[in-house]
């Protein structure tokens, strides 16, 4: 299943990116090579000898709308500057300008220095203030975007994993103490009646049940930092019971399913920050939803495990 979803994500992103790009190309969304009329004002005066001249750029909304066939409107004026060289005059919008689409995309894609949208100025006859600007041609925006998203998130993936090293070490160290001192064993006895029915493959006195209990407790109290190491340790314990090296057992799927339901008594910190006191009214619906979600997760994990296909791939059955 994961194979198909994974491949599906990649292939469909290529298909959709190509589709959008070809559509953009066919309607000439970015008006490549065509001059956009602008009006220039020089707050510090115009100096034809200066290399860099500050300028205020005004774009008429109706002209903009008909030029790009869009309902987005530009701001009354944008700060920017002219760069005058022998090759011609370049118009640059100051970095951080809040540009309307599609100008924002053009600025992003043309990889100009400091994120400044830039184009070549034409029909500029000082001291006249009317001119037109031709931006760099923009093509295959989405195709570029998916490629750079893939590279960015490959980096993010490694960063997230390596960022876990410290916290993982801390909690795996504490867990080792818990194991050696018998805390885990005591916990197993405590939670056995509740967890045993969910994890029938796990022997009654196995430490896996204790780790699962710790994982669920940490999740319940919103301690994501601790929940992940505990969950990983629980998975490691379950793997010790697994006759197969690379195939998940029913218990592992059950633990994963319970974890994806993410039941917790304390609302997520981020939601607290975003919603403020509003969160008080939402705690109850969040709790109901996650409890019901967990029940569905448990039932789904159990029932799907009984399907003939998944039964055949059960490592405990083969052994």
């Amino acid at each position: 299943m994961l194979n198909y979803i994974w491949a599906g994500l990649i292939i469909s992103s290529l298909v959709f990116a190509l589709g959008y790009d070809i559509r953009d190309l066919s309607v000439d969304k970015y008006r490549n090579g065509q001059p956009l009329p602008v009006e220039l004002a020089f707050p510090q005066g115009y100096d034809s000898a200066a290399r860099r001249v500050p300028v205020e750029i005004r774009i008429a909304p109706d002209q903009y709308a008909s030029f790009y066939q869009t309902d987005q409107a530009p701001a009354p004026s944008y700060p920017g500057y002219l760069v005058q060289t022998k090759e011609g005059v370049q118009l640059r919008f100051a970095a951080g300008s809040k540009l309307p689409e599609p100008l924002a995309t053009i600025g992003k894609v043309s990889k100009s220095r400091d994120d400044e949208l830039q184009g070549l100025l034409s029909e500029f006859n000082p001291p006249g203030t009317n001119a037109a600007v031709v931006f760099e041609p923009v093509q295959f925006v989405k195709l570029n975007a998916i490629a750079s998203a893939a590279l960015d998130f490959a980096k993010t993936g490694a960063e997230i994993a390596l960022g876990l090293v410290g916290v993982l070490s801390l909690f795996l160290g504490l867990l080792k103490i818990a194991e050696d001192s018998g805390i885990v064993f005591a916990l197993v006895k405590l939670v056995r009646p509740i967890l045993r029915p969910l994890f029938p493959e796990v022997p009654a006195d196995h430490p896996a049940l204790g780790m699962i209990a710790l994982n669920l407790t940490a999740t319940l109290f919103g301690l994501g930092n601790a929940a992940t190491p505990f969950g990983i340790k629980a998975m490691e314990e379950l793997q010790k019971l697994n006759p197969s090296e690379d195939t998940a057992t029913n218990s592992m799927v059950m633990l994963m399913a319970i974890n994806t339901a993410g039941i917790q008594l304390v609302p997520p910190v981020l939601l607290l920050a975003l919603m403020g006191t509003q969160i008080n009214t939402l705690i109850f619906p969040i709790l109901i939803t996650s409890v019901l979600g967990m029940i569905v997760a448990i039932v789904a994990a159990r029932l799907l495990g009984r399907l003939p296909g998944y039964r055949a791939s059960d490592p405990n059955r083969k052994a």
């Binding site: 998203a149 103490i177 969950g231 195939t247 994963m256 994806t260 996650s290």
Partner: protein
Amino acid sequence: METMRDAISLLSYFVLPLILVGFPLYGLIKRVPVYESFVEGAKEGFQVAVRIIPYLVAILFAIAMFRASGAMEALTKALNPVLGLIGFPAELLPMAIIRSLSGSGSAALVVDMINQYGEDSIFVKMASVMYGSSETTFYVIAVYFGAISIRKTRHAVPAGLIADAAAMLIAVWTVRLLFHG
């Protein structure tokens, strides 16, 4: 409701210190060489993190590409008529889709929706409940199964997705029921 919340959050302040101090203390009482045990266990931390990398990269880059391609908008458009039949608001479809895929993406969507509809809107309430009542399934799968090098996840993905879909629907219904939206 508020006193219960206060009690729970008060309790949650103590859980972590209890683990951090309680475990070594109990170990000491049981005459376990606590320092040696800790170091022995902590040694694994790096290997586990490194073991997760390929799984996490595989999942994250595929999802990032999917989001960047604009496929989300197309999917939203395609699913819209179907969802109207079961009373699922179109405004929440992006949230429902992205919740299982990306934690940071769904958080950003909540922020977007607050800006767009305001904190009091029923859509923001629904989105918040969706965010708070569910975990990022694909991240959990990558990390938990990656840590023990399990590649054949069997019914983990379908079970997780069924539970997610149910949670999204339940979120809409509960908020409607409680806030008469």
